[in-house]
Symmetry: C2
Subunit: 514 residues, 2 copies
Amino acid sequence: MRLKVRFLGLEAGGKSVVVLNRSDAEDLGVSSLGRVRLRSEGRELTAIVNTTTKLIEEGVIGVYEEVRNTLKLSEGEYIDVEISPFPTSVYFIRNKLSGRKLTYDEIYEIVKDMVKGNLSEIEIASFVTALHMLGLDLDEATSLSMAMVKTGNTLNLKGKLVVDKHSIGGVPGDKTTLLVVPIIAASGLTIPKSSSRAITSAAGTADRAEVLMPVNLNIDEMREVVEKTNGCIVWGGSLYLAPADDIFVRVENPLSIDPLLLPSIMSKKKAVGADLLVIDIPCGRGTKVKTIGDGELLAKDFIELGRRLNIKVQCALTYGEQPVGYAIGPSLEAREALKVLMGKEEVLDLIDKATDIAGILIEMSGRDRGKEIAMEVLKSGKAFEKLREIIEAQGGDYNIRPEDLPVGDKRFTFHSDREGFLLWMDNHSLVELARLAGSPRDKAAGILLHKKIGDPVKKGEPLFTIYAERSTKLQRALEELERIYVVGVGKRMEMLIHEVRERPITKKAFVLER
Amino acid sequence: MRLKVRFLGLEAGGKSVVVLNRSDAEDLGVSSLGRVRLRSEGRELTAIVNTTTKLIEEGVIGVYEEVRNTLKLSEGEYIDVEISPFPTSVYFIRNKLSGRKLTYDEIYEIVKDMVKGNLSEIEIASFVTALHMLGLDLDEATSLSMAMVKTGNTLNLKGKLVVDKHSIGGVPGDKTTLLVVPIIAASGLTIPKSSSRAITSAAGTADRAEVLMPVNLNIDEMREVVEKTNGCIVWGGSLYLAPADDIFVRVENPLSIDPLLLPSIMSKKKAVGADLLVIDIPCGRGTKVKTIGDGELLAKDFIELGRRLNIKVQCALTYGEQPVGYAIGPSLEAREALKVLMGKEEVLDLIDKATDIAGILIEMSGRDRGKEIAMEVLKSGKAFEKLREIIEAQGGDYNIRPEDLPVGDKRFTFHSDREGFLLWMDNHSLVELARLAGSPRDKAAGILLHKKIGDPVKKGEPLFTIYAERSTKLQRALEELERIYVVGVGKRMEMLIHEVRERPITKKAFVLER
């Protein structure tokens, strides 16, 4: 059936939706929420059908923005519309539901159909749930990684030794990447870093970097920056590297399950052509991986999956029971990183972590004394100079200064009501406060710590300051602050953690960052 | 936030969708595919958000038909819109994903949120997949049944012994219910029968009955008919009995899994207040339950679940390797049932099955010789008279005659090319042909068999006739007929069933009828 395109100006969160007159839908043999195949000038897309009896007349197809953009449609043009054939990959999903192990070909078919829009959310959710419940063995993880690479863009940096780093996240204020990328690029290795935005955290690396420079590059722009400077820090969202992952994430997040963690991370590293990779696994209370033992098990899987994908992987288990550095929130964090790179501030844990990770990468590339080299590159100002080159190459201001980065002018400082030592900090509460204050959407919102674990504290001394752009949001954060304990100050640890009076509801809800 | 209602005239297949200007959505803190809570004059509904920058301006909320109808909105009125709180039941679903057994309270919370629209398709699909993979024990099946009853309408026929029957389906042409209901009602028992429409079959009982009388009754109209006549045959879709089931089915059908079969059926029986129940389980090749052993296992679960719900259940395993009677398709089947009730036709297997099932119910109610009583009620014309009363009470024509029921005038008769006996029939192929010819949407389309298994066949004798309303649809059926084997005629069974040359893809795809 040929139908005339009408733009609706509606968005459906990434899903492809069209609206048909009910009579046309019946002629096609498709009902509401059924799927049709659209064809226009060699492009193809499967879309979900909504029906109407009045908004759209017969002969017309109303299209959502997602469909308009993917098919590059013009208002009023005619496109081919037919009922979508039943995808074979649904049979493979059913086989998985029956507990069968899937082959590479079957997994590739599922991933391909997913990226093409041929699978519904119901089918994808069911597949992801089955993977979660049955577990994913390393054969399937390898197949999934390869299939996700094959269905997206790849970077193809010819003739270079490509290195990369990734943190599974969970620690607030972790701006390590803003230091590692320039250190590594300045030390002669190539690091094409793509990062994510915050989902449940106060800032993702892409959010932090965006304060310094544009990060929404496409894959060709990214390649150009890397060829010029040996590095980049860009947002992964517009690169179309392993795009299947974005679809999996849409289903995993509401369920707080994450069976595809390994293939998700490793496929993106494979797509940029990484030869050497360090995975940062923050461990401890308030992080995603609670114990060192769990961290080691995860490391083992990363290393083995890397071996199968021909990526040499090392993992770094790092201390994660408090934020890295003092700043939380995009602009505050970018400012802290910039000051450290310029030598204006000495943030010991941040410098330690960045040079550890950079050092491992340098040693993996065949040189000795990696951490020393990393420290030298940082202290000499070469890393800062490299970051300025990258900022300029990505379209930012080469002469950017920490003072230029905005921080919220609505502020509240929390003071200690007793003397002692700072005994603990609650990562989740800090993130919640920062988000209530506006992070990451309000870039200038966040939290600045004045003390860290182990520091002596006098009565009345400031512990942390909350920054916001709008006073209503500062107010929201302050209301929450009344209810929760964020930091603990005392002379010694108290023994009772908390009382359990009735059967608790398990509310653990996080998704590892990718 | 208060927003002004604008009707969009769009339908989303039963889902509640609203469209917000992106700026309002951001102020609410909700993104595309997020959920908002709507309130209008005491009514509440959770809806999925789509965003736009142009179709809907700030201060306005575009509503789909589903939202308009549920909240009974008027164009231009103002309603309260706020971000939907995160439903606790999602935590219970997550617990199920971790393999935990759920309590009644937890299951009730899930079902309640589902019916209120608080759960997304992703969450429901994940829950159903987990139930499928872990299996549902009888405690959970009981909890689910009770929760599904509690979240919907109930019939409440005071002081009557209520009986019911249900077939799990799978056999084409099974118009048994059209006979059982009037036989039972005429024998003095009360049978408030609600039925479904065809999903993948050629006709559901509601489709067959609709040829004879209106079936889209609401619960009050249903009660009135039953109080007047002791019986009814209505469509379950507008009764709101165990409405959670309709939502589960939307998720189960695309996946071809059916973990909720037992609670789904039993909750509806509980909701009409059934005291005694017969479950018909057709067995054999070409049905849903392939072996008698499987049928007995299923029967055991039905009986035990019934015991827990205080419904006395018996099961009838019945022969299902060929259609019941000769007619397939709504109108042809209604015609056959009517003729049998009028004594104008002697369809032995149909009469046998109907009196068996009615007989079991009569004996369960405490009388002896149930099958004889049922046969007497049928042969005496009392059952026919009762059906006419029911037809009239439901708003149909008391004087309806078989000749009044339309049958398609586009026909093709398939003749035998050899002599022998009719050795087998393929249920699935017959259904496929009938559906291609237009069943169940075209009520007059279908198939009439001229021979059944065991009948002697002469060369050139007619085996079956396909009926259609439109010649294009007849043509589609004939094209399929070229490709498939529908019946087998021969002197003796041939030994080779079929060759398997490569690894077959399992395409089994059915859902038991509810």
